[in-house]
């Protein structure tokens, strides 16, 4: 039953991505100033939104881990798995943002990169979460999960800074599409629909790979616990 649900959900996610792709490329009209290259926006902005959501899930997982780590070990492990899955899938989406952004910038601004507040804070966010993943991967010892959770909480502080950066400072990055003042928002209904479909599709896909990553991490935790138990049994038998 569980397998069928996963297959149906995966199929729906892929169908949504196909539909969103069609909307972005063939249905949404060409933008008047940036022309064809503006269509990068339909992948760039939803990816940023999904990355922010997953970093928030990761933050919640780390806070829960710190809360449960002394009393409720199983809950702490579940929280830690969500923290890791959220951070890793968030980094994947953030990488997409950092690659599609310069591709658009090269055509729109004539440069690949500028040390603008929005771009720089996004790069810092990516570096913080990559360092979190490196810490998880290469550090050893009983305190790694706790240290990683603390780093995650500090790293998450950069998310609101990235979000607000083009409101607080004058930036070369375009003004916020939503909530950026009276002129913000997508005026063309077909463009708005294409954007909405891409947000839904990438969210559905992101949740799918988040669930897969969580499953893999929980499985690793179970195998590690079994190995530790076996080692303990060996010691007590000897």
């Amino acid at each position: 039953m569980k397998k069928i649900v996963i297959i149906v959900y995966a199929a729906i996610s892929v169908a949504l991505l196909g539909w969103a792709f069609y909307q972005a490329i063939y249905v949404a009209p060409e933008e008047q100033t940036m022309h064809e290259v503006q269509r990068i926006f339909y992948y760039h902005v939803p990816s940023a939104m999904v990355a922010f959501l997953f970093f928030a899930i990761s933050l919640a997982g780390s806070v829960a881990f710190l809360a449960f780590r002394r009393g409720r070990t199983e809950w702490a492990q579940i929280s830690d798995a969500w923290a890791l899955a959220g951070a890793e899938v968030g980094v994947v989406f953030c990488t997409v943002v950092l690659i599609t952004g310069p591709l658009w910038g090269r055509r729109a601004w004539g440069i690949w990169w500028t040390w603008d507040a929005r771009l720089t804070t996004t790069l810092v966010l990516w570096l913080i979460y990559v360092s979190y993943l490196l810490l998880r991967r290469f550090a050893a010892g009983p305190q790694v999960q706790t240290l990683a959770a603390v780093l995650n909480i500090f790293g998450a502080l950069d998310v609101p800074i990235v979000y607000m950066s083009n409101r607080w400072w004058r930036t070369q990055h375009p003004a916020p599409v939503f909530g950026g003042g009276p002129d913000s928002g997508i005026k063309d209904p077909a463009m708005l629909a294409a954007f909405g479909w891409n947000v839904i599709a990438w969210l559905a896909w992101g949740l799918l790979i988040l669930a897969v990553r969580y499953h893999v991490e929980r499985q690793r935790q179970r195998y590690a616990a079994q190995e530790a138990q076996a080692a303990l049994d060996d010691t007590s038998n000897a």
Binding site: I7, Y43, H44, V96, W205, V212, Q219, Q226
Partner: protein, 79 residues
């Protein structure tokens, strides 16, 4: 499920590369160079996005498989 994922990982990039090639080199042959460049950059952004997402999914599948294999190996050969 694994066959479906494998098919997706192979079919989507192939289809996307074909689409990018078609848009960059076959569509509107008399279009000006700036517009052609716009098509290429958009195609590259879409293809790279898919490559990253499917590459990550493939890496997860490999990781899970290695994990299961190691666990099975440890069960068969306990210390």
């Amino acid at each position: 499920m694994k066959k479906l994922a494998f098919g997706l990982i192979v079919a989507v990039p192939v289809a996307l590369l074909g689409w990018v090639y078609y848009r960059a080199f076959c569509l509107y042959p008399d279009t000006d160079p700036a517009t052609i460049l716009n098509y290429r950059f958009t195609g590259a952004a879409y293809a790279i996005t898919w490559a990253i997402q499917l590459g990550y999914l493939a890496w997860l599948a490999v990781k899970e498989r290695a994990q299961n294999r190691n666990a099975a190996c440890n069960r068969l050969n306990p210390r």
